[in-house]
Structures are given as C-alpha cells and as structure tokens.
C-alpha cells in the first residue's frame, strides 16, 4: 500500500511525518538538526530514500545534510558555496552597489532523474549544482552574471533565489525565481538565462512592466503540462501558457491577490491552490480566517476551502515553499503555517485536518508519495 512522507522545514529544525495511503494517522519524527533553521528539504524523485536538507544558523552558516534512508539518519555533506570568479555587485536597498555575499540556501531541488545531482537556490541570488550527492557545489554563474544582475535589488527577505522548477519534458529547461528580480528560464541546463517577466505589472517599481525587478514569490507547474506555469507574485496571481514568455493575471475573485504559496493538483493541471494573505504589511489571512482558495479553471474563478481550517482569530502566514501536493489517486494537499501547524487534505482540499499543531514556524513543506 502506498505511503506518504511529508518533509517539514521549520525555524528550529526539520520534521518527517509519515502516514499510510489513507492519510489519517501520522507519525512525527524530529526535530532533526534541532535549533537549526531549515529553509527547505526535499527528496529525490529518482530515489525517494535520498533526501537533501539545508539547515543553517547565524552562528555556523550553511550545512547540507543528506539522508539515504528516508530521513531516519543523516550525514553532513558539502557546505562550501563559493561564487565563481569575482562576484561583483548588485544593488543594495539604498541603491548603492553591494557585493554579492553568500548567506544561506533557500531551496534545494533534486534532479528528476539522477539522485546525485541536486540544485541549490541561494541568497545572495545564485544557483549552485552538485553532481556528487551534495559533497561539492559549483555555481552556474551565468545567471548571477546576467546583464541585468547589477540592478537586482533584494526584497524584504533578502536577494534570494527561492524557487527552482525542473521541466520533466525537457531536461535542459530550468525555471528560477528571485526576490526581487523576477523569473528567469534556462533552456540549456543553466548555461544561459533569460528573464521571463513579460506581462507582470508591479506598481512598487519605477517601471511597472520592467524586464526585471518584480517580486515573484513562487512559481509552480504541473508535470503533466510543463509549458503552463502559475505564479504567486508579491501581489497578483499569474499564469503563463508559453513557458513563461508571457504572463496574464488570473487573480479573479480572490479576496486578496497577495500571498506566497501556490501549487497545482497532481492530476488536474487546471486545478490550482493559493492561500491569500491580507497584504504586504499584514502577513496574515484576511479577517482572521485561514482559507485555501482553489480554482478548477486554471485561475480567475476561485472557491474558498474552509472545512477543518480555523475561521476566526487566525493570524498565521503560509510561506512560499510551505505548500505541496502528493500524487495519490485522490490528490492530497498540504501546507504549513508560521504558527507551527501542518494541515493536510486527503480529498484535494475539500476537508482539512492538522497533522501537527505546535511545531516551530514552518518554512517549507514537501511531500513524497512512496510505493
């Protein structure tokens, strides 16, 4: 019988939650790396027992941990992230040039086909690759050396490369998103990159339709329809039907189109989930009601999903990497909150229940469907 494993990164460690295919009763293991900030951990699609995890602390910096037994035991691997060449500068908050400095890994993306190959999205924004199971990390420098990079400015959370999406139909295609530079695509395995922000409109930058400078919060894609992307921008939920070349807004009837997390149903490429957040200055759900909104039409028409979720006095946030779906026949949807709850739905969002309630603030949620 299939099993589901939920990987949760939190402000003070990682947790591994497991259940059978019914997804009603859960075992909780952790904290792993207690006290470390775990921005992200993710399993290899090519070998589900291989999990990469990115704990960091302000004292000791970045460490990469690897498990080869599904999260039971871990081994530290490489932690050296060095920009290639002379890294140069990007813009600082005050508009002055600021040297590129490695701070932490925000996102780990294992290869779809090779357990030893894995990508890391880091702050200050760059993409690194390891081809030896995380022991050695090499930058793919042409993103950071893009013509526009000198003008990239950090978002409130830093100049972070927080999203990496690999295309199952095209092994050379990689999408990334950077706050607050925008979305970029490589069609040659990271050798060259182009900004893919046409159609985005951001009123907080001098030219609202500029080629770069947009605060993209997250991008997701159905593996069944790789050319179709969905984006939660700082404000606006967007859609592209041409691999990011052009975007259009699909916020529709959402109560607010600010938010961080966005994901697509595992089997229905037009079914999309977001968690609307009140605003950029008030990072909690509108009216204290925690609601996931689902569109079954690829955007524009959204329905609130509330059964099992707190509908009063709820003032948590759901961060960009804190939503995921499983691939069970009836798609499961999961998200974690800054209040330490991880909610799961085993019926594509119709009903919800917390798996755990009192973890440290949840930074990321990933799901593996096993067997």
């Amino acid at each position: 019988m299939s099993k589901v494993r939920v990987l949760v990164g939190t402000h003070k460690g990682a947790f591994v939650l497991t259940s059978d295919g019914k997804r009603q009763r859960w075992e909780v293991s952790g904290p792993h790396f207690a006290g470390w900030e775990v921005y992200h951990l993710k399993g290899s699609p090519a070998d589900p027992n291989r999990i990469y995890c990115a704990p960091s602390t302000g004292w000791h910096g970045q460490v990469i941990q690897r498990s080869d037994d599904g999260g039971k035991t871990w081994e530290p691997v490489g932690n050296k992230f060095t920009y290639q060449g002379t890294p140069g500068t990007h813009q600082w908050y005050d508009g002055t040039p600021h040297p590129w400095e490695f701070k932490r890994v925000w996102h780990i993306e294992p290869s779809l086909t090779d357990p030893d190959t894995v990508y890391a999205g880091v702050e200050d924004a760059a993409i690194f690759q390891s081809t030896d199971g995380g022991k050695n990390w090499n930058e793919l420098p042409n993103l950071r050396e893009h013509d526009t990079a000198k003008g990239w400015q950090p978002g409130a959370g830093g100049l972070c490369l927080h999203t990496i999406v690999l295309d199952p139909s095209n092994p050379e295609r990689i999408y990334v998103a950077i706050s607050a530079a925008g979305a970029f695509r490589s069609d040659d395995s990271g050798k060259s990159w182009k900004p893919i922000n046409r159609g985005l409109h951001s009123q907080y930058i001098p030219d609202p339709t500029a080629e770069v400078g947009h605060c993209v919060h997250h991008i997701t894609m159905s593996p069944h329809r790789p050319g179709v992307l969905f984006m939660q921008k700082h404000w606006d939920v967007m859609r592209s039907d041409d691999a990011g070349d052009n975007w259009r807004e699909v916020s529709g009837n959402l109560p607010t189109d600010f938010g961080f997390a966005i994901d697509v149903h595992a089997h229905e490429p037009e079914t999309v989930y977001v968690v609307p957040i009140k605003s950029d200055s008030e990072h909690f759900p509108p009216d204290g009601k925690l609601r996931v909104f689902r569109s079954r039409t690829g955007g524009n028409e959204w329905e609130p999903l509330t059964r099992g979720l707190p509908q009063s006095n709820c003032f948590v946030n759901v961060l960009r990497d804190a939503m995921a779906v499983d691939t069970m026949e009836e798609c499961g949807v999961y998200f974690g909150t800054t209040g330490g709850q991880v909610y799961a739905s085993a019926d594509a969002g119709d009903t919800w229940a917390p798996i755990v309630r009192d973890l440290p603030a949840v930074l990321s949620v990933e799901v593996q469907t096993l067997g």
Binding site: F33, A34, G35, W36, T57, G58, W59, H60, G61, Q62, V63, P76, N79, K80, T82
Partner: protein, 103 residues
C-alpha cells in the same frame, strides 16, 4: 623534532552535534600552538566543521563566533599568536563559543 602539545577544545552544542563529539575534544597541535593552528587541527580531525567556525577561504572568524580562554576573550587577537600558557599545558580549555545573538 617538532614539539607537540595537547590542546583541550570546548565546542558549542550545534558543533558537538555536527561533529558527533562530546563537550570537549583534545587535539595534538605542533608547538607553539595558536588559535589558527588549533583550528587547523580541529578541522583536520573533523572536516565537517570547516566553514562553521571560520570562513572556508579567508579563515576569518565567523561574525557570531567567539574564542575564549582563561576568562579572556581572544576573539580579536592575532590568530597566529601563541595560546595562553594554561591552554598550552592543558590545564585550561580553548573555548569556541556562539555569541549571544538572535534571541
């Protein structure tokens, strides 16, 4: 022949867990042992600690790390200066400490 001294090193909790060691480790370091040579020996025995106390390349102390010994803060002294006598005779440990930060 180079003289060898035994240095006791106390690590903060996160690094003990990372290196899978107890509260204190002992290292054999060529005399005259310094902060730099002691950390070289520590990282040689426990490569997983590379980059967690000082920068991989510049070997500069990480900003929130401190070095204490004999009730003194050695963090800002020349890392190539010999450690205090009490540390060189192993009657006092060399302490790597996470600064109070972050709440």
């Amino acid at each position: 022949m180079t003289a060898i001294v035994t240095i006791r090193v106390v690590l903060p909790a996160h690094l003990r867990n990372l290196a899978r060691v107890g509260a204190e480790v002992t290292l054999e370091v060529a005399a005259p042992a310094t902060i730099a040579s002691t950390l070289d020996a520590l990282e040689s025995h426990y490569p997983v600690l590379r980059g967690t106390i000082r920068d991989h390349d510049t070997l500069q102390r990480r900003p929130f790390i401190r070095y204490f010994a004999c009730q003194e803060d050695l963090s800002h002294q020349d890392p190539n200066k010999p450690l205090p006598d009490a540390v060189l005779t192993a009657s006092e440990p060399f302490i790597v400490l996470g600064a109070i930060a972050g709440g």
